[in-house]
């Protein structure tokens, strides 16, 4: 997993870029027409070049298309259009030609109806709303809603995933120690609380290491892949970017106006404390059961707030400053995911700090309660545990 994940992540980044580059190969298409009605108006596009040929030539070429320099031959006869090729024509090439021809016909018809094309042309308008964020001093910076959505979504989901992944890892570890019966040997040397926190912190460090490794490996692998797969075609006509990673370049361009360092640090904070809080609960569940199969009834209430946060990412994004977003980012059970979603849209510092304090408090309280359950649970075997029973454990004296 440690090695595989960054490879998968790198390929997620690299494959679309690679494929996009692949498609940009130029195609030469021969056009033959009995007239010049269309062929004179057809224009070259970014990756299609047209060459007008005679009908005789066309016939000749069609007989041996593979050896000709042409990718395809477009035959126009009596308003019927046929595209000959030695292989299946790519969809975007067909669409591009089709669009051009449609436009030519359209204009022709408009002309016949006596409408000035210029009027139509002029009435077509395209505007682009520039979004800027004004800070308290009234200074404006560029904002990018798409990038905010992207970053919010990715970091929110990563936190959700990590809490789940490492939380269950803690739970499995606790169950393993309990079913192995090594737990009683260990807690005759250390306090149950120390053992529980040791497990949680240990897994957290594994998580952080894995996370950092992923980021590093993803960057390394994608840079290498970029070098080998893309540069060969791309760099030849764009020598300036040889030493600059296209991807990093893209990221900086896209995220203009978003404080990436703040987001990164917040991510580490919300990941750590969100994880610490949830994994204490997962540890308590692990201690209360005898086998992983029995965890279902206790895991569900823990995961509901987490899943809720996940589901509510969309509504929060639609209104990142709304009441729902505010309260979800204050509730420690949902704040790790929701705050990360809100952050790229800009969150007041007092909200961020309050949310962090509440999360720390949430962590302390849940850990305190979880430790009480854990302490009793790890030494309890062969008993079907109910919520009533768990409640009783909370009241036992150390």
């Amino acid at each position: 997993m440690t090695i595989l994940a960054p490879i998968l992540m790198a390929s997620l980044i690299i494959v679309p870029v690679f494929l996009a580059n692949q498609d940009q190969q130029n195609r030469l298409i021969a056009v033959s027409e009995d007239d010049t009605k269309y062929s004179s108006k057809i224009n070259d596009t970014d990756n299609i070049n047209f060459e007008i040929i005679t009908e005789d030539e066309s016939e000749k070429i069609r007989k041996n298309l593979t050896d000709s320099p042409y990718y395809a031959v477009l035959d126009i006869k009596n308003e019927t259009f046929t595209l000959y090729a030695s292989q299946q024509i790519g969809l975007n090439i067909r669409n591009s030609i089709q669009n051009q021809l449609e436009k030519i016909i359209e204009r022709e018809k408009l002309k016949q109806a006596g409408i000035d094309i210029k009027i139509i042309e002029n009435s077509k308008t395209k505007i682009n709303i520039e979004t800027k964020i004004i800070d308290t001093k009234g200074e404006a910076t560029d904002s990018n809603t798409e990038a905010s959505i992207g970053i919010g979504f990715i970091t929110g989901i990563l936190i959700y995933m990590f809490i789940f992944m490492y939380g269950t890892m803690v739970m499995r570890g606790v169950i393993e120690e309990k079913t192995n019966r090594i737990v009683e040997i260990i807690i005759s040397s250390v306090k149950p609380f120390q053992l529980m926190m040791g497990k949680i912190i240990g897994v957290a460090l594994v998580g952080l290491t894995q996370f950092i490794l992923w980021i590093l490996l993803t960057i390394i692998i994608s840079s290498f892949a970029e070098l080998f797969l893309i540069d060969a075609t791309e760099i030849t006509n764009n020598t300036d970017t040889i030493n600059q990673s296209l991807i990093l370049d893209e990221i900086t361009k896209l995220t203009g106006g978003i404080d990436l360092i703040k987001i990164f640090l917040s991510f580490i904070f919300f990941f750590l404390f969100g994880y610490l809080m949830y994994s204490a609960l997962f540890a308590a569940v692990g201690s209360a059961v005898d086998a992983e199969a029995d965890t279902q009834q206790f895991v569900l209430p823990i995961t509901i707030p987490l899943i809720l946060a996940f589901i509510l990412i969309q509504p929060v994004m639609d209104n990142p400053d709304g009441t729902l977003a505010f309260w979800l980012s204050m509730n420690p059970l949902t704040s790790p995911v929701i705050m990360m979603v809100r952050l790229p849209f800009g969150v007041d510092i007092w909200e961020l700090v309050l949310s962090m304090i509440l999360l720390i408090l949430g962590f302390i309280i849940t850990t305190y309660l979880a430790a009480k359950i854990y302490r009793t649970g790890i030494l309890m075997y062969g008993k079907k545990i109910s919520y009533k029973e768990l409640w009783k454990w909370l009241t036992y004296k150390g």
């Binding site: 120690e177 192995n180 019966r181 090594i182 040997i185 005759s188 040397s189 250390v190 009783k392 150390g398």
Partner: protein
């Protein structure tokens, strides 16, 4: 000679909600003795052992260890082999033993040196780099035993130490336990196997229904349970009770008698010897098992 007490538990009460696991339990464990902690399942033995190990705290009562109130510093002086015991299956034997020894406060080098000694002693050196899951249950038990005693604690607590061992290995472990006692270690020993109690315990405590119902040196308990009782074998079968003794039961020529208060063994032998020929005369003591069963029934 009164032996010095290493551990004394006074009036300990432990409740789990409405359930009382220990109700004013008292035990005194003399130094360098093997102290058998007996009792039926659910009597509260494990809870008591957990309290001594500071895994849980009592609701009430005091525990004095080596003259001081039991505290955190005593953890390294106590070794505990729980009944429900296991090891990390995926870890290698040596690594794991080192880890557990270090948990008890030993330095890495010291732990390694001691482990080497014990592994050689029990002839298990070749297990060092095996994974625990490759070992049989009995083999894993041996590792657990080593890990329990490795830091030379003053007090060892064994909960069912022989379960899972074949007779040969059980004998090896028994020998080691006795040797540890002879070297000055105090051992608390909990088991259901009464024959092993008879063999190795010096003192016993019987816990039933959360209370101590019997406690003391094993010989004294036996005597108190069945005082002045002897077994006499004669060459004839016509012995009758007298003012010196009472016949409790007989099987052919063998009689179980109880010498009445105020008379000595010698007097009794002399009286019987006048009319009968004594083939053998010996103290008749109840087995721990009898005591165990009867005491619990009487409760």
């Amino acid at each position: 000679m009164k032996k010095e007490i290493l551990l004394s538990v006074k009036d300990v009460i432990k409740k789990y909600g409405d359930y009382t696991a220990l109700n004013k339990v008292n035990i005194s464990v003399p130094k360098s003795s093997i102290y058998g902690l007996l009792g039926p399942n659910g009597a509260g033995k494990t809870t008591l052992m957990r309290i001594i190990n500071q895994i849980t705290a009592p609701d009430h009562g005091t525990i004095i260890f080596n003259g001081e109130k039991l505290n955190k510093n005593h953890i390294k002086d106590i070794g505990y082999l729980p009944e429900e015991r296991g090891l990390y299956k995926k870890m290698k034997v040596g690594e794991q033993a080192l880890y557990l020894a270090q948990l008890k406060g030993m330095s890495y080098h010291k732990a390694k040196e001691k482990l080497k000694y014990w592994f050689e002693k029990l002839e298990i050196t070749h297990w060092w780099s095996k994974r625990v899951e490759e070992l049989s249950k009995g083999m894993a038990q041996k590792i657990q035993f080593v890990v329990t005693v490795i830091h030379k604690p003053k007090l060892l607590i064994f909960d069912e130490p022989f379960s899972g061992f074949d007779p040969i290995n059980a004998a090896i472990i028994r020998k080691e336990i006795l040797q540890l006692r002879d070297n000055g270690t105090t051992i608390i020993f909990s088991t259901h196997r009464m024959e092993s109690v008879e063999e190795i315990c010096d003192h016993i405590a019987l816990i039933n229904d959360s209370k101590t119902i019997l406690e003391g040196p094993i010989e004294k308990i036996k005597e108190d349970f069945q005082p002045n009782t002897y077994e006499v074998s004669l060459d004839s079968n016509n012995l009758v009770s007298s003012n010196l003794f009472k016949i409790l039961s007989n099987d052919k020529n063998t009689y179980k008698i109880k010498i009445n208060e105020g008379f000595l063994v010698k007097q009794t032998i002399d009286v019987i010897n006048k009319e009968h020929k004594i083939v053998s005369f010996k103290k008749d003591s109840a087995s721990v098992e009898d005591i165990f069963i009867k005491s619990i029934k009487d409760e």
